[in-house]
């Protein structure tokens, strides 16, 4: 316990407490979690760096408006129990968001200390609190409101759906979550690898919701097994958090060769189906020698680092430069440490195959950055005559996805946008269809876990208002 536990530290340090992690040369040999998390001492020491700003910018930087200074001050005092309770008021999945949020663009990006060197490592402390709570055994169940008798169906058990379910069940509504796959958690189980988000954490969160009384139905595809309209006969309100849908592939010759994967396929084989344990697990994954991952987001990093762990030399092929990489800084750093080779300013133009239809290489052209486009990012342009072939026996397309089409396709009166995304009010999540709300990737296209949780929270509030108005 620190001697200055009652007053905020003014002698702030310009450097963060490092979070222990597995050594790069060790972790590329396993699929276990890379970051090991703060100890209580490290968390308290890091929390003490908080300046307790009068107007805490971190809170406004957080998509779910976590009361960051409040839980940090609890950590400073060593009162982790109160800290986690404060955190859970606004964030029902802190163990997840502490691990996968792009904090550098959110709370930590606007932290005053950011300009003075390094922001308070808010994400790491958040993660510490969640893991501390888990280590104390079964979590304390919060008070539930009186049953309202109202029934809500939640479509999809990803971060948006779990948030809605958690919020509404506490308000006394009867909540059923429908999941298309055989495991609950959506992208948290099929997409994000074990080494970044252990599946035990997702299971714990799901079990927690179950203990609150949320009903969970697996192997049920809303839009196929039952239509949305049919569910509306049984439920008072529906939230659609069906997530990302059809993956995008490179639109170049050779896109259907053997060894060309969508990131979704590659990651699903590995994470959901545990293909890295083939043949102990029955779903196979091919151990490639040289893998080219096309894209620069978190999903690209996940694919590259997975391929590396399966023993391949791995390249990230990205058409812009390092500064424009959309991935979380920590993941880029981890990927670099582990030996992922980055081919920046490189655009794939063709996938080459042999007579068996198997990938043997990726033809690329070098790029240079031109004028900034509408998004402010400088547009890459090909350099004439710079074509070259990257030897590769696999190409993974981590280029994003369009929203899942199954529900809009079978619900004619549900308005969709140009790209097939469900149209929903940004503040409430309400769709064009009465009693139906939506949020997360199915509305925004591929985005982050925390934005999906934020959308879920807003929708839950709006659904609750609606259900309360029914009297």
């Amino acid at each position: 316990m620190s001697e200055n536990q009652t007053q905020p530290a003014r002698r702030f340090s310009t450097t963060q407490e490092e979070m222990p992690k597995q050594l790069a040369e060790v972790r590329v040999q396993n699929f276990e979690e890379v970051a090991l998390g703060y100890t209580a001492d490290l968390a308290m020491s890091e929390a003490r760096r908080c300046l307790n700003c009068k107007k805490p910018l971190c809170v406004t930087g957080c998509p779910v408006e976590n009361d960051i200074p409040a839980f940090l001050s609890c950590v400073v005092r060593g009162d982790f129990e109160t800290g986690i309770q404060i955190l859970k008021k606004t964030n029902c999945l802190p163990a997840v968001s502490g691990r996968v949020c792009p904090q550098e663009e959110q709370c930590e990006g606007v932290c005053v200390l950011h300009k003075k060197g390094a922001p308070v490592a808010i994400g790491r402390i958040e993660r510490f609190l969640a893991d501390w709570e888990a280590a104390q055994g079964a979590p304390k169940l919060p008070e539930k409101c009186e049953p309202t008798g109202r029934k809500v169906a939640v479509v999809g058990s990803g971060p948006a759906g779990l948030t809605v379910a958690g919020d509404l069940v506490l308000l006394g509504h009867e909540v059923t979550v429908f999941e298309a796959l055989h495991e609950l958690g959506g992208v948290l189980v099929y997409g994000i690898p074990e080494f970044r988000l252990p599946k035990a954490i997702v299971r714990r969160e799901v079990e927690y919701l179950q203990s609150l009384g949320v009903k969970l139905v697996r192997d049920f595809v809303v839009g196929k097994t039952r239509s949305l309209d049919s569910l509306l006969e049984t439920y008072d309100a529906i939230f659609i958090g069906a997530g990302a849908g059809l993956p995008w592939f490179l639109d170049v010759p050779g896109k259907n060769l053997i060894g060309v994967y969508s990131a979704n396929e590659y990651l699903t084989r590995l994470n959901l189906m545990k293909g890295y344990r083939f043949p102990t697990m029955p779903t196979p994954i091919v151990p490639h020698h040289r893998v080219a991952v096309v894209g620069g987001g978190n999903v690209a990093m996940d694919c590259a680092r997975s391929a590396l762990r399966l023993g391949a030399e791995t390249h990230i092929v990205y058409r812009r430069s390092k500064a424009e990489l959309p991935a979380r800084a920590e993941e880029v750093e981890n990927a670099e440490e582990e030996g992922v080779i980055f081919d920046f300013l490189t655009l794939p133009t063709r996938i080459l195959g042999n007579d068996q239809g198997i990938v043997i290489g990726l033809e690329c052209v070098r790029m240079q950055l031109g004028e900034p486009d509408a998004s402010g990012r400088r547009t890459p342009e090909p350099i004439a005559g710079s074509e070259f072939i990257l030897d590769a026996d696999a190409v993974i397309c981590a280029l994003g996805n369009s929203p899942n089409p199954l529900i809009p396709a079978t619900t004619p009166d549900l308005a969709v946008g140009r790209k097939g995304n469900i149209v929903a009010d940004e503040a409430t999540g309400q769709t064009s269809k009465a009693r139906v709300w939506a949020g997360g990737d199915v509305v925004t296209g591929a985005a982050t876990v925390i934005l999906a949780m934020g959308a879920g929270r807003k929708a839950a509030r709006s659904i609750h208002e609606y259900l309360s108005s029914l009297g």
């Binding site: 779903t283 196979p284 091919v286 899942n404």
Partner: protein, 282 residues
């Protein structure tokens, strides 16, 4: 968990399982498929639905015991459970009355066409059934088809029953009985391709259930992509039935073999005695 009502081998190596899946049975329409898993932590595989009973809420599928997962499926018995039966997936076929419809099936496809025979029979269309097998002892459900139509033909490669050869022999059937308006085919890709090539000169509209690798079956992974009419389609959400005359068969055949080595490895690594137990522990 989905309760198995009946599980048995119908002819050597071809099995039939009837499983309780009331939500699937209620929504299923001919043309749609299901994804099943045989054991906890099991692989997801797509299967055609060969029959259903909405009263008991069961669906029936027929499959060939060919690799690790179908081997697990084949070892299950009535009273046991399938951890996953999800669907119905893919698109139902728009069934409109035609003068005559030709149903061509081989292997598991022979059974998977049964719902079409029933549906077209009810629509008043003439139903012609052609079953293909290596030998007569591999034919099944012929009696069920005969109850619906008198036009039941078989082609065996050894000539032990019906015409001798492969589906190319259908030409002889057309010569004798006239040309049907529409063909619906289900079976291995080789059978589908050969059937399409055979009916092409006769101008018969061809709908085939493409046989691709799948994982989720909901459009998320894209491993089932096929080229039809020069466009990339996902068999799970755009299919599984496509215009057989527009399919890029060469690409489909190659892609189907993507995991040939792993499939062999998986089968061999599970062939020791301790794997003959009902379910494999992780």
């Amino acid at each position: 968990m989905f309760l198995i009502h009946e599980a048995r081998m119908i002819v050597p190596n071809l099995h039939q399982i009837t499983v309780e899946a009331p939500e699937v049975a209620r929504s299923w329409r001919p043309g749609q498929f299901v994804v099943v898993r045989a054991e906890p932590e099991g692989e997801r595989i797509p299967l055609s639905v060969a029959d259903l009973d909405t009263k008991s809420g069961t669906i029936t599928f027929v499959f060939l015991n060919v690799g690790y997962t179908t081997n697990r499926l084949a070892s299950l018995e009535a009273g046991e459970f399938l951890p996953t039966v999800v669907g119905p997936l893919g698109n139902p076929l728009q069934l409109e009355p035609v003068k005559s419809v030709l149903l061509v099936g081989g292997c598991y496809g022979m059974g998977s066409l049964y719902p079409f025979a029933k549906a077209y029979h009810e629509l008043g269309s003439e139903v012609i059934v052609v079953s293909e097998a290596r030998s007569s002892f591999l034919l099944y459900w012929q009696e069920r088809y005969r109850k619906l139509t008198s036009q039941v033909f078989c082609i065996t490669r050894d000539g032990s029953l019906g015409l001798r050869g492969h589906v190319k022999q259908m030409e002889k059937i057309f010569e004798k009985h006239g040309t049907p308006e529409l063909m619906i085919a289900n079976g291995c890709n080789h059978l589908l391709q050969t059937a399409c090539a055979t009916v092409q000169p006769f101008g018969i509209r061809s709908l085939v259930s493409l046989n691709t690798i799948m994982i989720d079956g909901t459009g998320m992974c894209g491993v089932c992509r096929v080229t039809v009419g020069g466009e990339t389609k996902f068999a799970c959400v755009d299919g599984p039935y496509f215009d057989g005359q527009a399919v890029d068969w060469e690409e489909l055949t190659l892609r189907r073999k993507s995991y040939l080595y792993q499939e062999t490895l998986s089968t061999f690594s599970s062939s020791s005695c301790n794997h003959h137990l009902p379910a494999r522990s992780a």
